[in-house]
């Protein structure tokens, strides 16, 4: 059952954990939009955003190390952006010749690259706190309240529920296959094709099992009165505490945006 440890939620009794999921989702998205809007090189703004994100992480009692580590997971993607330090026009700081091409490292390029990395890291911190402090079913319910199409949310609920079930089935299939393989260590050469075909068969087998399971699930739903309509209970009303936290947060974001655009 180790796959279930991939569930991001960590139960705590923190202020953030106690907030309504809808509010948290909206605030997280607003934060990410705010970072996206923040101009390149507006360092004071980035510092304040980082402080805001850190404050939220601390308040969530998830552990700053936890949040920072998980949010750094996407940073390897930054490699996709690293060449921007050479391609952005501006005053060159460093020039080199590589393979007959003249590459100029520009200050503007460094600024742009740093801004991209910062935006990404800060956004992810907020996303980590959101998922760490909100049970996934509550998050889905929040999306439904925010008018994400009912059917998509319903499908997502099933996906979450059966993710781990089918993942375990996949592991079992793998183990059964491995137990019968008796292969020696390190098959080499054209084995990539062989491996892909074997995987393909496992995938096909898993697909059929999943299909049959979905039919049994449908029967179970029908047995309890399912009629094709997606229904769920109404969400409870917001607490005043939710608004008490949301308002200063939004104001802070707005203030940072203004600050970022001040000419120094």
């Amino acid at each position: 059952m180790h796959i279930s440890s991939l569930d991001a939620y960590r139960p705590r009794t923190s202020l953030i954990h106690g907030l309504d999921a809808r509010v948290k989702l909206v605030l997280a998205v607003l934060f990410i939009v705010a970072t996206a809007l923040t101009p390149e090189g507006a360092w004071p703004a980035y510092v304040l955003l980082a402080a805001l994100a850190l404050g939220v992480a601390v308040a969530s009692q998830l552990g700053v190390g936890f949040v920072y580590r998980r949010s750094a997971l996407a940073l390897p993607f930054a490699l996709a952006a690293v060449t921007v330090v050479f391609s952005t026009p501006g005053r060159p700081l460093l020039s080199t010749q590589v393979l007959g091409m003249k590459l100029a490292l520009t200050g503007a390029g460094l600024v742009r690259f740093a801004s991209i990395v910062l935006k990404s890291w800060l956004s992810m911190q907020m996303a980590v706190v959101l998922t760490g402090s909100t049970p996934f079913p509550a998050l889905l319910q929040a999306m439904r309240s925010l008018h994400v199409p009912k059917i998509l949310v319903a499908v997502a609920r099933f996906t979450y529920r059966y993710l781990f079930v089918i993942g375990d089935e996949a592991l079992r299939l793998m183990r059964a296959r491995a137990a019968r393989s008796g292969a020696s260590e390190g098959r080499s050469g054209g084995s990539i094709f062989w491996r892909a075909r074997v995987t393909g068969r496992l995938v096909g087998s898993l697909f059929l099992r999943s299909l049959e399971r979905s039919e049994r699930i449908y029967d179970a739903m029908v047995a309890r009165g399912y009629d094709g309509e997606v229904r769920s209970l109404r969400s409870p009303a917001l607490h005043s505490r939710d608004l008490l936290v949301a308002c200063p947060f939004v104001l802070a974001l707005a203030a940072i945006q203004l600050l970022a655009r001040i000419r120094w």
């Binding site: 796959i3 009794t13 402080a51 600024v111 499908v155 089935e169 793998m174 999943s210």
Partner: protein
């Protein structure tokens, strides 16, 4: 071996937040919404009452199938996209919804892909990959006129094309956002995915072959009604549209940047049209370095205050012997 390494290397297609400009993100959301909306409408008609549990479990299957790929490659993160396979097995509309759900849950649950840029990820992997894959499959099937090779060749090429097209679309979005220059993004993305697509194609064919033996009725060409050529055309047009955007972006980089600057979304612009207080200067602070330091102090105070409050609350909770979860 190098080939196996490339085939199973992580497919960098889940764009994190911060790598796309706001304009590109929003545009992709709009396009994705159109595609998903269309799929919602059409899949309801095709699948009826069963659609929710079927697509939900199928999405879970794709997740698990991606994990399968994972483990087979000995721990490196392989990546079966699954868009083409899903479309071939359950039709294009259910396929779109299924992969969309997978992408959304990857972002929400595992932070694999950002929240604001989810529209782009859904567009690339959920809509473009699925439609291109399905179009290619139906096209090859029509060419094969019911012969068995059609299913295998079609499945392979469809899966390969879906991965490549999704990667090209990703590259285009990165280029338009100014995150990556065209000269790097396109060859890197497309190049890597041309190879990764081979793995996707092989696994797709393997799965189709298995299903065809055990449940022939699920992949029977007769199941899909006439219109193969129309679908092939859809796939082709979509692939062309995406591919043409790429050279467009690379041949007019300056023009694009100027447009972006005018819209104020490229950070280099200091004269954003929506700047509210154009000539305001923060009283008493005359340069940016100082402003940064002040911001740092303010931020530190804020964080310290929160940490203090949290610590106080915790102590009170422990003293009151509240049983916490």
């Amino acid at each position: 071996m190098l080939a196996s390494g490339i085939l199973t290397s992580p497919a960098p297609m889940h764009i994190p937040d911060g790598f796309l400009s706001l304009a590109v993100s929003l545009l992709c959301w709009v396009l994705a919404a159109v595609g998903v909306g269309l799929a919602l409408w059409r899949s309801g008609k095709a699948l009826g009452e069963r659609q929710v549990p079927l697509m939900g479990v199928l999405a879970a299957f794709i997740f698990a199938a991606q994990m399968l790929n994972f483990t087979v490659a000995g721990g490196t993160s392989g990546h079966l996209l699954g868009g083409a396979l899903a479309a071939i097995l359950v039709g294009p509309w259910a396929g779109i919804l299924t992969v969309t759900t997978v992408v959304a849950i990857q972002a929400l649950l595992f932070q694999d892909g950002g929240l604001l840029v989810m529209g782009a990820n859904i567009l690339n992997m959920g809509v473009i990959a699925t439609l291109v894959g399905y179009g290619v499959y139906r096209g090859v099937m029509a060419l094969a006129r019911g012969q068995r090779w059609g299913m295998f060749a079609g499945g392979f090429v469809a899966a390969w094309a879906s991965v490549v097209m999704a990667s090209v679309a990703t590259a285009v979005q990165l280029i338009f956002s100014g995150t990556s220059p065209a000269a790097v993004a396109l060859p890197a993305m497309a190049g890597v995915h041309v190879l990764i697509g081979i793995g996707e194609g092989l696994i797709t064919v393997g799965a189709l072959a298995f299903v065809a033996v055990v449940r022939r009725d699920l992949v029977e060409p007769a199941r899909a009604p006439a219109g193969g050529w129309r679908w092939a055309a859809v796939g082709l047009v979509l692939a062309l549209a995406v591919s043409l955007l790429a050279p467009l972006a690379s041949t007019h980089p300056d023009g694009l940047e100027r447009v972006a600057e005018d819209l104020g979304f490229m950070g280099a612009a200091q004269d954003a049209p929506y700047q509210v207080i154009p000539d305001y200067v923060f009283p008493g602070i005359s340069n940016q370095v100082l402003a940064t330091i002040v911001a740092g102090l303010v931020g530190t105070l804020l964080v310290a205050g929160i940490a203090f409050a949290v610590a106080r609350l915790r102590r009170r909770a422990v003293q009151g012997s509240v049983i916490s979860d």
